[in-house]
Symmetry: none
Subunit: 188 residues, 4 copies
């Protein structure tokens, strides 16, 4: 009997190892060997499951993105009213989990990758669209030009995240509070 189901397990292990390793070193300059060691397997096997280093990274990014997407979806389901939905999106976008070194590095390097790498760009676009659509949906009952307000709020979220990540003077809590003030202004 062949060992069944090894593939998804191995892939998941590699994805986690990638995030973990990138996080620990704070840089995308990690080697396949490092990732594989962290995942407890040989570099050759990593290449066997993913075709290349780039594919490993992409899978890891997709994982982070979908984890974020799940969080937002859950927050929206649990939310109470338009204001609640807005706050849920913001909360999730600036939640603690996005600020560990692993996620931070992943995001920043992902940004840096996007102008060059079409697959990264596509992934990022999906994220942008979904956030925008969620925001519009939540804002429509509250403001006249929901689309414009959504863009502004989305930019504010990203900017606040950036600051929280890069600026030691701006801890994540202040970043979230800063956006929440704006949300409060909108929800009245």
């Amino acid at each position: 009997m062949p060992k069944v189901g090894a593939e998804p397990i191995r892939k998941a292990a590699l994805i986690n190892a990638t995030i973990e390793t990138v996080g620990r070193t704070g840089s995308l300059d990690v080697t396949v060997a490092q990732i594989a060691r962290e995942a407890g397997m040989s570099p050759a096997l990593a290449h066997h499951y993913f075709g290349s280093k780039g594919d490993i990274f992409l899978a890891a990014m997709r994982h982070i993105l979908s984890r974020y997407g799940d969080g937002v979806r859950a927050a929206l389901v649990a939310a109470d009213g338009s204001g609640g939905r807005l706050r849920g999106i913001v909360d999730e976008s600036l939640a603690g989990g996005n600020f560990d070194l692993a996620a931070m590095s992943a995001w920043l390097n992902f940004y840096a990758l996007a102008p060059t790498d079409p697959q990264a760009a596509r992934l990022l676009r999906v994220y942008h669209r979904r956030l925008r659509s969620n925001l519009i949906h939540a804002l429509r009952p509250l403001v006249a030009d929901a689309a414009a307000e959504a863009d502004r709020l989305a930019a504010l979220i990203d900017g606040a995240y950036l600051r929280a990540v890069l600026d030691p003077d701006m801890p994540p809590d202040r970043a979230r509070a800063l956006v929440m003030d704006e949300v409060r202004r909108i929800t009245g």
Copy 2:
């Protein structure tokens, strides 16, 4: 007596070549050889004038940062009133020059570098502090809590820039307009 005075010329050429090369490839993964070729000299000479690859990058970033700083300063001098100063800062921060691939890549990769590289972090901090202080100064006559408003505006600027850079659906003009709406709201 030897030919003299080449140093500043060569250094400037290398800085420009760095920005140009990073811009063209859209990635920090450029080799010293590429930069040197672009600057029309040998890799050895690049190492002669700057000590290392990292120093070349740092000098390039410093150049971009100081170019931006000069722009802001000029805009502030020319500005008329608090509202004018605000609009000047926003205009300069989201000016066309910041959106060529070279500047974009430099900024994004600089962000990605900052969590790891202390010198990059220091440089970025200088930028953040200066922007914040400029915004506070311009906002003080207009709002009660200038500091909080400055943080929010700074985040909005960075977020809008990020969107304009990363999202094809958000051209620089829309990004600027988006921030200007907020400025208008503040200035009343």
Copy 3:
């Protein structure tokens, strides 16, 4: 399952290749590429098995030293009486094998390395101590101040070796005879 057990073979091949290459060129200024080529493998593999060029050299030196140590030990076991032991040590120290260009260059360059490289110094010290202790052991039944006589004899051995290596007018045989005269004087 992969091909297995290459490591010791490769390491041995690299050590031999190092000695051979250093010997052929008569200088420590050999490149990893040269050594690897001599050993029939890529430079990358050499770095894979030993961490660095320095480690390759050290392993080669250790090999030479242990080869010499084995020779001395065998000579001591086979020796008959104190005088025999003395003659055995001298014979082994000035045996033909120490005079091929490879061993010579290794020794000389090792000497030159020792004041700078702590690991080389440590290795050399081991050799010195062992030789001294062997000599003292063999001399104790024969002379009053065995320690002093051992130091003198050790110096004489090293000096004779040096002459034999450096001076075309002093072939190894004469060098050995020169020391043996002294041994004969001691053993009476």
Copy 4:
């Protein structure tokens, strides 16, 4: 009027700088730039006066050798009787000046160079011959086979020097004492 006599001054400065630099770093791996800086001139000028790096080294070695030769000559002139001449030679050969890191490194690296570099070999041979002839001259009135005794004593001197240089357990004074004991045995 041209500046006269610059050449010998510059050359001497470079030779001293070479010895000094080799001594400070304890290795022959010094760059022409380091030597030139130590001598207070540009690397280009060093090449102007000596044709190549090798020539600089050779000149430095020649300097050390002739300095040693002068010392021996002076000691012989001042010496009283055959025994005094012998002691003078030994004293000079193991004098303090030969044990500073500069001279040590020079000697050791010179040894290492000799099997490869014909010029170094020639120089070394001169030294060997002169020492041997001096020793024979001093020994002839004292022993039957002066030539054999001279070779043994020369080897002992070199071996003692080597030990003193390489072995922290053998300070220069003990090395000299060790040889002097032998001298005393000969002079009776």
